[in-house]
Amino acid sequence: MGKMILDGEIVDNGWQRFEPGELEEDGQSLPENQPVIVPLAYWQAHRDTLLEREAVGVCLEPGEEPADLAADLPHLPLVAIHFPAFKDGRGYSYARELRTRYRFTGEVRAVGDVLQDQLFYMHRVGFNAFEVRADRDIHEALENGLRPFSVTYQGDVHDPRPIYRRRQELEQA
């Protein structure tokens, strides 16, 4: 079982994630009693059966927007957003929309090419869980990646106020 960062701590990753096409190609069925993260298309095709399971999350690929999942969000404990390459920044807007437009309060998880140097931005737009790439030091990522800055100019999902609405607090810091 791999490790991941959840809400600022390193924990075991109890979820099994399937890539797009993986389940269909192998014709395999989902493991019993195992929390799973399935691709959007699979979710859409098997929504009713999946809803009977205890723990199912859906993973969005770049190009698949939260709007495609909006109606289902109240039923989901977890939405994952896949970064095939860390420089594809669409997932940042998706996470932000999940939190601010759809008021999604479940876990928003970054998966794929997830690296230390992007964690701060990811956290600010609404990710609270990170599957840091397996070949990297997750402890260092947690220690140095999440809080490189104590100052931010913009509001974010944690505090929507931009700096000009919270300056006094900063000046007293």
Partner: protein, 549 residues
Amino acid sequence: MYVYQDYDQRLLEERVAQYRDQTRRYLAGQLSEDEFLVLRLQNGLYIQRYAPMLRISVPYGLLSSEQVRTLAKVVREYDKGFCHVSTRQNIQLNWPEVQDVPDILAELASVQMHAIQTSGNCIRNITTDEYAGVNPKEIEDPRPWCEIIRQWATFNPEFAYLPRKFKIAVNAVPDADPALIGVHDIGVKVIHNDAGETGFQVWAGGGLGRTPMTGQVIGEFVPWQHLLAYLEAILRVYNKYGNRDNKFKARIKILVKALGAEKYRELTEAEFAELKDGPMTLTEEEVARIQGCFTEPAYRDDVDNGVLDKALQENRAFNRWYHTNTRAHKRDGYRSVTLTLKKTGRIPGDVSDEQLEAIADLADRYSFGELRNTHQQNMVLSDVAADDLFELWEKLDALGMATPNLGLLTDIVACPGGDLCALANAKSVPVAEGIQRRFDDMDYVHDLGPLDINISGCMNACGHHHIGHIGILGVDKKGKEFYQITLGGRGDKLSRIGEKMGPSFESYEVTDVIEKIINVYVDKRLENEPFIDTYERIGMEPFKEHVYG
């Protein structure tokens, strides 16, 4: 100038620490080339032909004398004693070492300078009219709005990994486009409504590069309170739908064109509806605070215009420089002075450490300690009293920065080109020099009048060749350097993309071709008609005939 608060300074210092750690991990092999590439680019560091190039941010071109002195020190200690003013009003170092960059950044941070987002697929330096704040034609000072945008753009978590680079410019001059907002990803035009309230006409989808085009109006009148919410809406649409498969189709201009302005507006308005009146809404207090950083300096009331009049009558060289290199000012008795960095034989826009120090001293002595970089690769002392002009001119002349060619044929804008840049197809500096040498008779150059020549060493168009009245683009043909000529581009009253003249030329032919073009103009022009007006009147044909005939 914007006055840094403790937290602004803290942000810069934390950035230095972050970048130092990224460099350390790269040098220790813990970050791949590809990963570090993206990180270093967001910090303005390119790996170039012979050495890295570090682009230092100069927000809307504005510099203090203290910053210029620190630049001089950095240029001397970490480079070869020269730096380069870029067409985005930034400063470039051409010979730093990768491992020295964290120390350079620490040095710069001590005077509130940095290289944040000077490259990479993120929001770049915000630019504006180099005469902002003193231009008698502007409806208000655009710099406070630039600063407000700068802060929103700095480490904006959602827009750090856009499909492609993103450039925003602000203009507050009606009926002119000194900030080239027509060819920016977003152009912000400050306007007033009938009630006299400030708002913005927001353009999107302009750009130079491989597919040059002018932008389209997306927001007709965005009230000032909603500026950032509107920009955020435009950016979110771009971040979600911009092309990420093909780097050459990834700029917002391609998306705006593909969707059409109407559709882009619709998508923007949908995002905007959600943000409008939310926490991003600008407050009067904040705008007033930022505007308070750009107040008028302590202008003298006792400026003696007689001193100037006498010098203008007595000294012909001074007279010529005055009429060419200084311009009208909001305040009576003051002029804005442009220091031309275009002496023949020098790389356009290059300035040495010693010159920087001298310029800083001149800024302190004559212009309230401030300077600006221009998008035409010159520098400006914006607030010089009329009775100081002669004295200042003598000093500038001694420094080689009083060449009276501002806006004339030899005031050539050029990228560093193939001599330094790894992206370039062809050299640009020797082409500029060849033209400057051919047109070495200053009387003739003055007689020719306003003429913008812009040279880029490749399609990326750092030399803004599309908007030169005469544009020169370096292209590669089977490993040989060729140059394509465009005519009729503009970046003055309006932004317009030039038209290709015909087949390209070998480097040895370029100067002759330029001379032929000029000869057609001289032959056809009406009295006092500038080159661009003649071109627009008679069209491409006569030029083409003479050059290729």
